[in-house]
Symmetry: C2
Subunit: 399 residues, 2 copies
């Protein structure tokens, strides 16, 4: 039975449907983060998608309720999306990519952990779509590691689509039906135990609308979004440089403007306004990206997802067994508290997921196993804790 969810939230993107990511931006990002002023690369195209998104996010969205599954299906795509003619579609290839990335990351985490094993939950939705949540809890290295994929088929209100088609179409006498959309994404948050081993978050997602049934020639809309970011409790400069350099390498293969642009976007997005601090030391973040060639962006998202292991695992190997004090553990727990504050108060994916009745356990697996709040805690000026806080308040160029 489809479950229609009415939302009155002012401005959320559709993309947050994908499980628990903590990096789902919305139109708000575009307003506050200042999109690049000039992008004249050949691949850029102009669409009304941003305006379109602003409209759909103000309206009612419907999504079906999920049901648990005992087996992983080969695909969460609907049959019509998965026959011979459409197996090469972007949606099919994106799903394949995120499923493979989930397997690779989980294998790498289990191997590095050397003890913990992922628990898997699979679910589907009657009309197509579903997801796989994998969580490793209380392992040898990670206190909580979640790697989720999901595919969503939903409906958006017709007014949004009519507006997107322009004034002429909007004034047509014909009243269009709701617009089906497709969304797929991978989301992961990895919280290690050792306070010198950083938390990692990544999320990559793809969004597409169908043409409405009564206007088959109407254009499809699509976007990519995502990012990878690092949240240490202590700064090892070589680790942060390594992490950012892998992100930059992935970006530079596609466009020299990507790294500086998405690095800044990341610093702007993971901002805890009431603290005037970033959650961590950043990485890359982008959203609602459609002003480049679609194939190029699919390759870029794939490259980013494949960069997670080389960006992160070498850092873990170096730090996972370092000795630490109770004081250092308590500081890590305080930073975990900040992680909780960001995710519950600001993260668009989390807040949207909570409001729309998504799969709660998948949404909140992003929260750490343990966190701490001390009243008016201030690290000693010049201390290692102070240095981390300073870098969260004043984002640095690491490369």
């Amino acid at each position: 039975m489809p479950c229609t969810i009415s939302i009155s939230a002012p401005s959320y993107s559709i993309t947050p449907f994908f499980t628990f990511t903590s990096s789902k931006s919305t139109q708000i990002s575009h307003i506050s983060h200042t999109p690049p002023k000039s992008l004249t690369t050949q691949t850029r195209k102009t669409t009304s998608s941003h305006h379109f998104q602003r409209l759909i996010t103000k309206a009612t969205v419907s999504i079906e309720k999920e049901t648990p599954e005992s087996e992983r299906p080969d695909t969460f795509l609907r049959g019509v999306d998965n026959d011979g003619a459409t197996a090469s579609s972007v949606r099919a290839r994106f799903e394949k990519m995120i499923r493979e990335a989930q397997d690779k990351v989980c294998n790498a985490i289990e191997q590095a952990d050397g003890g913990g094993k992922f628990k898997e939950d699979v679910w589907s939705r009657p009309g197509g779509g579903g997801g796989i949540s994998r969580v490793l809890q209380d392992g040898a290295v990670w206190e909580k590691a979640g790697v989720n994929v999901s595919v969503v088929y939903g409906q958006m209100p017709p007014d949004a689509y009519r507006a997107a088609k322009g004034a002429a179409a909007a004034s047509s006498d014909q009243k269009p039906g709701p617009i089906p959309f497709f969304a797929a994404g991978i989301s992961s948050v990895l919280h290690p135990k050792n306070p010198f081993a950083p938390t990692l978050h990544f999320n990559y997602r793809y969004f597409e609308t169908d043409a409405p049934k009564d206007a088959p020639g109407a254009p499809r809309q699509w976007w990519f979004g995502g990012g990878t970011d690092l949240t240490p409790a202590y700064i090892f400069e070589e680790d942060v440089k390594h992490f950012h350099s892998v992100q930059k390498q992935a970006c530079d293969k596609f466009d020299p403007t990507f790294y500086p642009r998405f690095k800044k976007w990341c610093d702007d997005y993971f901002y805890i306004k009431h603290r005037d601090e970033r959650r961590g030391l950043g990485g890359i973040f982008f959203d609602d990206l459609n002003d480049y060639d679609q194939e190029m962006l699919l390759s870029f998202a794939t490259e980013c997802a494949n960069s997670v292991i080389p960006a992160y695992i070498p850092i873990i190997e170096k730090r996972k067994d370092l000795p630490f004090t109770d004081h250092q553990k308590a500081w890590q727990q305080l930073r975990r508290g900040r992680y909780v504050e960001f995710n519950l108060v600001y993260d668009r994916g989390t807040t949207f997921g909570l409001k729309t009745g998504g799969r709660i356990e998948s949404i909140l697996v992003s929260l750490p196993l343990t966190a701490r709040w001390e009243y008016d805690h201030k690290p000693e000026v010049g201390s290692e804790e102070w240095k981390l806080l300073d870098a969260c308040i004043n984002p640095k160029e690491w490369l």
Copy 2:
């Protein structure tokens, strides 16, 4: 320098200005919690205050930035509010009441703790108002206990007030200035260490508008709000009955409808929608209360504040030294996680405070020292943990 804060949040009440309370409801409460259908007591009067509130909450509010003080002043009232002629005003007597309640509760907590001492922070605002935050952290009995009072003088936009005065006044050519308001409140969250000793929250507040300078005869508006609620990790039925019976006694001294009405309001307010659970086992909660005699409501709020110690301390004395297992401690920590979820996601006072740049450390002292999130944790059916969860899902009548 006055600091003007523009908010675009859809519907917040003014009342959440008072530091860190986790019980500040708004107009939303009135819509979702269904006000009583018939209240025909003699003290009831009709005003346009609910409509008025709905309007002011949609608009811009200004409040000054606080500055730290080394000494506690005798009063946070402005001089004009504190001369001989006005010392008997409701605002003056309410401030006196909450200051005394803060002293009494802090003394009782220190005595029961037998080790920890409150740390005090005092602040003021240039144009009047200020607050006192007291926090006892990592004591013998409590891991974190915060008891805050605050007094706020602010400005609300004129359109809200014009609307409140009715259509005739609103159509006047004279453009009124901003409307000054006064607010004062006490807020407290007490998190014990022992998993059998419950968390307590209480908050009582008073709100008043001035007549605008250019319309001195215009009526003042005023409201009371507040409540006291209990959040255990394990149910001792005698404890919950004792707690609720003290709340009922306080209510019954004023109106026999108060306890059933405010008990339900409490169950409705402390609702974690995405979990379909209440935060705890309730108590009493009310907001925007002005449809009774003002003196009667001042006495009622005073009675409620004075009931905190007899409602709570006897429970603590019985439970603070009970032996417990790691499993029981972990369950308490999971419930602390729910406390964090409620306060950061739903509590109007917290979310409003975070958005408007209130004193962050006072706002977030309501969060526990430590909290925990396990993926897909489900207590065994019939266990003590399951019984608590069941009572949070299905609120019970305890008396």
